[in-house]
């Protein structure tokens, strides 16, 4: 009884990380093609695009874990921000679990007008001033492409996953998903150009320590 009480107290004090592992590894994706050149013929007064799109590395992608059982989302999730800065979406990819919100901030001294025509979430935020932001709730899992109505070259992705544990791949496809409760999970991946998520394997996460999982989408996209 004392041992159980002690374990319970520990769980309360250290929270979920007290019995959580992490999943790390690499998802091997094709390399990103050379970025296109914006033909900004008429936008002579627009802010220079000082943060160019990623010029090297692999395609942008996301990896996430699907639990066998139903996962309960925490009461309050942090709201990620997709900024509009130097006529770019920053970051270019935001991942949220289904039901979560994303804040679209405008940090540019000019108008943007974020909109999406994606089947799982159509919206149009209109034009709003620098420093202002608007919230959008993404109810259904899937990939939502977002654009700016004023700057056609702007493109971003909100990846809405049916899981609570996820990561955006870095330029070489590496990832780290921390604080994963022990259990068995399907590993699912999305990369730019894919129309839907793809399950690429399965991992068993222990109560502590890291589990490595690596997969390749070089031939299967």
């Amino acid at each position: 009884m004392t041992r159980i009480t002690l374990a319970f107290l520990c769980a309360l004090i250290w929270g979920p990380s007290a019995f959580a592992g992490e999943v790390t590894g690499t998802i091997d994706l094709p390399r990103r093609p050379a970025p296109g050149v914006d033909v900004d013929l008429y936008g002579k007064y627009d802010t220079p695009k000082s943060e160019p799109q990623k010029e090297s590395g692999k395609l942008d992608g996301v990896v996430f874990l699907r639990s066998e059982g139903k996962e309960t989302a925490p009461a309050s999730l942090p709201v990620p921000v997709m900024d509009q800065k130097n006529a770019r979406f920053v970051p270019r990819i935001v991942v949220v679990p289904a039901g979560a919100r994303v804040r679209f901030l405008n940090s540019d001294p000019m108008f943007h007008n974020v909109f999406s025509l994606s089947p799982i979430k159509k919206f149009d935020l209109g034009r709003y001033p620098r420093g202002n932001s608007k919230l959008v709730t993404f109810e259904h899992p899937g990939v939502v492409q977002v654009f700016c109505d004023i700057h056609a070259e702007m493109i971003g992705f909100v990846v809405v996953v049916d899981g609570l544990h996820y990561a955006v791949l870095d330029a070489e496809g590496h990832y780290r998903i921390p604080d994963v409760p022990p259990g068995n999970y399907d590993v699912a991946v999305w990369a730019e150009g894919m129309s839907q998520f793809r399950t690429v394997g399965r991992v068993s996460v222990p109560a502590n320590g890291a589990t490595e999982f690596t997969a390749s989408l070089l031939d299967t996209r």
């Binding site: 900004d40 002579k44 007064y45």
Partner: protein, 408 residues
């Protein structure tokens, strides 16, 4: 605006020879394209009233705008735009190619930029959104293309020229007077004809400035690649765009341009006044622009007055015009737009004592309903009504359905 094919071809060869090696070694190269496919109905006269210099027309069955950019380095790019139109005179295709170079942050000053070559008009703000994906409507504002009876390659003997049948309201038609063939009359501002010249422009803390020296003038750009007289035109705009606060979304500015517009060859015309030369007759255009955007709303408006000093014609010919345009989005797919506009000409008096405007006053309203299927595909239903109260036979209506597709 009469095209000088020979002069332009020489200029094209020279420009191509200079740009090709740069383009081939460019750090980056991009192309973009857009196309519009239009099915129209209504009055032929109403369609003709939208016609531009080489026969191109926003309501043409198909139009393509191809553009490329070669990035030479971080601060230098070469641009080329090629407009293609089902109704345009294809023999004038080369004349309407638009090559220019853009240098940004000249001398390290982020507010100082330079454009040179065949450049878009500096006057006003419509030019920045004149391509079909940026404009909420199919038609171009009258202020930016409607050809008046004033021409730069005819010297009238006196005011009576403007009282002859077919002169008023015939600015978009070829005409002959005193054995001289004239092509197209001058609009207040000519958006689709890019002039040859150099422009200095920049922006800092919301202030915007632009100043260009060009071969032609605001109303009569010299598209031929060779100047039409010994004078140069000067065009400028100064403006302000709020960067933050409650006025964010407000943009306003004033524009002006002055220069000699008359073709040098008119000096040998039997009607040309003795003791004068072509550079003594100027085209002056002054105007203001105001726009505001917030949420789903956008408002655009401009007003301008163009003046033409015509040999043997008194007083100076003037036309005053305006447009007000409102766009409202309804979600990501639907939007509606409407524009109201007009051009008003001053009076002149004939030798018989008759007083009338030197061209027909004209006003128009246009509306459209747009539906966007994809980020780069839109279907638009448009209606345009053009009225010339003193020439009802030239008035008319147009309806059109237009599919627009463009690359990102």
């Amino acid at each position: 605006m009469r095209p000088d094919q020979h002069g332009f071809l020489k200029a094209s060869v020279l420009v191509s020879a200079l740009l090709l090696p740069q383009t081939l070694s460019a750090a980056g190269f991009g192309v973009s394209a857009q196309g519009t496919f239009t099915y129209k109905g209504g009055d032929d006269e109403a369609f003709d009233l939208n016609t531009m210099n080489r026969g191109d027309n926003p309501f043409s069955a198909f139009r393509f705008l191809l553009a490329s950019r070669a990035v030479i380095n971080d601060n230098t790019s070469l641009y080329l735009e090629a407009p293609i139109d089902a109704n345009a005179n294809s023999s004038m295709f080369l004349t309407y190619l638009r090559p220019f170079a853009r240098l940004t942050s000249v001398g390290g000053a982020s507010w100082l930029n330079l454009q040179a070559g065949r450049i878009p008009t500096v006057f006003g703000t419509f030019g920045e959104r004149s391509n079909s994906t940026e404009s909420g409507l199919i038609g171009t504002p009258l202020l930016y293309y409607y050809h008046s009876a004033a021409r730069g390659d005819i010297v009238p003997a006196d005011n009576d020229y403007f009282f002859q049948p077919g002169v008023r309201g015939g600015g978009y038609l070829q005409t002959t007077y005193n054995n001289k063939t004239s092509f197209v009359g001058m609009p207040p501002v000519y958006d689709s004809c890019w002039d040859v010249g150099a422009e200095v422009y920049g922006t800092s803390s919301g202030l915007q400035f632009s100043m260009a020296a060009v071969q032609g003038t605001v109303s009569r750009p010299s598209i031929a690649g060779k100047d039409n007289n010994d004078g140069k035109g000067v065009i400028g705009r100064a403006g302000y765009e709020a960067q933050s606060g409650p006025l964010f979304g407000l943009r306003l500015g004033v524009s002006g341009g002055i220069g000699p517009y008359l073709s040098q060859s008119m000096e040998s015309d039997s009607n040309f006044p003795t003791g004068k030369n072509a550079e003594d007759f100027t085209n002056t255009v002054l105007g203001g622009d105001l726009s505001f955007a917030r949420g789903p709303w956008q408002l655009f408006s401009e007003v301008a007055q163009a003046s033409y000093e015509i040999p043997n014609v008194h007083p100076t010919l003037r036309v005053t015009g305006y447009y007000v345009e409102l766009v409202r989005d309804f979600g990501p797919m639907w939007s509606v737009a409407a524009r109201q506009e007009g051009l008003y000409y001053n009076n002149i008096t004939s030798s018989t004592g008759v007083t009338q405007t030197w061209d027909y006053n004209i006003w128009r309203w246009e509306a459209s309903l747009s539906y966007r299927f994809r980020q780069n595909t839109r279907l638009r239903l448009g209606y345009q009504s053009t009225q010339l109260p003193d020439a009802p036979d030239l008035s008319g209506h147009l309806v059109a359905m237009q599919l627009q597709v463009w690359t990102r």
